[in-house]
């Protein structure tokens, strides 16, 4: 036992462990970032043999990259939008009304996020194939919506449960009908939960690989494009540029989602 374990300051061992964990998580990302500037496309030599920004230019001119990026963006945006509507409605139903099988439905709603992506993917592929629906942009959106809905649902339900007592009744009591009550009381209460849930959903969708593999037709989203690039070592720095870009793009929404959640001292995922 450490003699100073009772003091409020963390011991050096704990600090070292924390630092080690952070490095373990982040060093690989720095490597990616670093090697976006290498002039040598094949190997990861250190120190860098030189410094160049030409890969940014090359990446910028790649038609297929832009197509993948815009597809990913569209899919994430639409899946998030659908999740916001469906997740909020589901949370409202589960929170506001009591009906037979409510707990079961709540459980089934949350299940897709716990299921391995491969299971969701194969299930969707079988179902979509069985129904003779052509694989397309929309099948990707549907696949992503399965887990995006959960994130929004959890956030919104947690907020509903923390919402102060009789506000909805108070609003109706003061003359507001259901629509006005939703507009002026419920929505402002949910706003930060929706924003946090939406950003998280967007980030999840944006880098999803497994479900996408099973639900996409000929299209490739950004993660799939990157995946396919791995077999082309010459373009490795281009992939690094894209990866850096994705890190930034994912980092920002997660960062703000966390901030918003902390601000309203809300629990992120689990409401149970």
């Amino acid at each position: 036992m450490h003699s100073n374990s009772s003091s409020p300051k963390a011991s050096w061992a704990l600090k070292a462990a924390a630092l080690g964990t952070l490095l373990f998580l982040h060093v690989p990302m720095w490597i990616i970032f670093l090697y976006t500037f290498t002039p040598d496309e094949r190997t990861f030599t250190f120190p860098l043999p030189g410094f160049t920004t030409k890969w940014f230019g090359i990446a910028f001119q790649r038609e297929d990259l832009w197509r993948a990026l815009s597809l990913s963006f569209k899919v994430a945006a639409i899946a998030t939008l659908a999740a916001l509507v469906l997740g909020t409605l589901a949370a409202a139903a589960v929170y506001r009304s009591k009906f037979f099988g409510r707990e079961a439905i709540s459980f089934l709603l949350v299940l897709p996020i716990a299921l391995p992506g491969i299971v969701t993917g194969i299930a969707l592929r079988t179902a979509i194939g069985g129904l003779d629906i052509p694989f397309s942009f929309w099948t990707i959106v549907i696949g992503h919506a399965t887990f995006c809905v959960v994130v929004v649902y959890n956030n919104v339900l947690a907020r509903f449960r923390r919402m102060h007592g009789s506000q909805i009744e108070a609003s109706m009591d003061l003359g507001a009908n259901s629509f006005q009550t939703f507009r002026y009381v419920v929505l402002p209460n949910l706003a930060t939960a929706l924003l946090a849930g939406g950003m998280l959903a967007f980030a999840l969708s944006f880098d999803e690989v497994i479900v996408t593999t099973f639900t996409a037709g000929q299209q490739s989203t950004l993660p799939i494009w990157i995946f396919s690039q791995l077999s082309r070592p010459r373009d490795r720095p281009v992939t690094n540029v894209v990866a850096t870009f994705v890190i930034l793009l994912t980092f920002l929404p997660i960062f703000f989602a966390q901030k918003l959640s902390a601000q309203s001292s809300d629990t992120e995922g689990e409401s149970k």
Binding site: H164, G165, S166, Q167, E169, A170, S171, M172, D173, L174, G175, A176, N177, Q180, Y184, V185, P188, N189
Partner: protein, 345 residues
């Protein structure tokens, strides 16, 4: 104006069942225009359900509720000219105090300039002038309470419902708010319906009180009627402290074995052998316990038959030494014939 003889609220055989539970069971009730009316009862007695049915949050299983003659039983809350002060205040946390108070006016699309004017009037009424820009989270419990009151009153409702609004406040603040609520009610002249489980609160503020028990109304009357003439053993026991005298002892004292009640402060402690006035009832007993409480002393006197009566006497001349020395002595209890209440069952 409405006809003054039309009751503000009329319950016509109103029932509300939750499955097997009869929360409210065939209640008839009339609440007069402009009165401060309290619904008093223990939790689960149906008083809050009655309030919620007046507000429109709940609908009667059967029967009708009339608001100034209009049947409102099936109208949604936003179509009733009734406003509520909630137990937890239910202020909107994302709006400041001014916007909270103006909410009803905003919904009814009252122009901004008039809204501001009326909000300021209301803030003055509840003594919160200058607080319009604060958020509810920056207010104390007592201040939130006032905001909730202002938010309801600004709409000039026909009836204001108050659901145990003072429950969360500490004693001093509660007593202060009781006085203030009463004076506000007099000033605005709106019918107030006040739900509480605190009998003292009900007695302090109300013009009339309805005592609820198990979904039914036991008694409706002025505070004095409820206190001095309880209509049932429940009312006698729930409102204040009461001595219930049953069976043989009742027969010996009054000549009838019907149960009666007598309030502890109405009983006088006398020496045995004191002369008996013709208008007084008199029984002898032994002082079993004495509790000195400063302002008054509470005696527990055992009557010969094994009944205990609580007697309260003010310590006008006595000291704690005097009163405590009475313990174990034989005494004579006397009270005026008019001070007994025969209670039903």
């Amino acid at each position: 104006m409405t006809n003054p003889s039309t009751p503000a609220i009329r319950f016509d055989q109103v029932s509300r069942y939750f499955g097997e539970v009869k929360a409210v069971d065939h209640v008839d009730l009339e609440i007069r225009d402009g009165e401060f009316f309290s619904m008093l009862g223990p939790s689960g007695s149906g008083k809050t359900t009655c309030l919620r049915m007046i507000a429109g949050f709940d609908k009667p299983t059967s029967g009708h509720i009339h608001l100034y003659g209009q049947d409102v039983s099936n109208l949604p809350p936003y179509e009733r000219d009734v406003n509520t002060v909630f137990q937890d205040y239910a202020l909107f946390p994302h709006m400041n105090v001014g916007d909270n108070i103006a909410y009803g006016l905003m919904i009814r699309k009252v122009p901004k300039s008039e809204r501001t004017k009326r909000v300021n009037e209301m803030l003055e009424l509840v003594k919160l002038s200058g607080y319009a820009g604060r958020k509810p989270s920056q207010l104390s419990g007592g201040q939130r309470q006032r905001v909730a009151l202002a938010r309801a009153l600004i709409n000039h409702p026909k009836v204001l419902l108050l659901d145990e609004p003072l429950g969360a406040l500490d004693l001093k603040l509660r007593q202060q708010m009781q006085v203030e609520l009463k004076s506000i009610q007099k000033r605005v002249g709106i019918t107030f319906i006040f739900v509480t489980h605190d009998q003292e609160e009900a007695l302090t503020m109300s013009d009339r009180i309805a005592v609820f028990n198990e979904g039914k109304i036991e008694q409706v009357g002025t505070p004095a009627e409820i206190y001095e003439r309880p209509a049932s053993t429940f009312v006698a026991g729930f409102v204040g402290t009461s001595n219930l005298i049953v069976g043989e002892l009742a027969k010996r004292i009054t000549g009838s074995d019907q149960t009666f009640s007598v309030r502890p402060e109405k009983i006088h402690l006398r020496a045995v052998g004191d002369k008996i006035d013709g208008n007084m009832i008199s029984v002898d007993g032994v002082v079993r316990d004495v509790v000195y409480l400063g302002l008054y002393t509470r005696y527990l006197v055992q009557i010969d038959e094994g009944n205990d009566l609580v007697v309260i006497e003010q310590n006008l001349k006595t000291t704690s030494m005097d009163v405590l020395s009475v313990r174990g002595q034989k005494v004579r209890l006397q009270w005026h014939k008019d001070h007994i209440s025969r209670v039903g069952g």
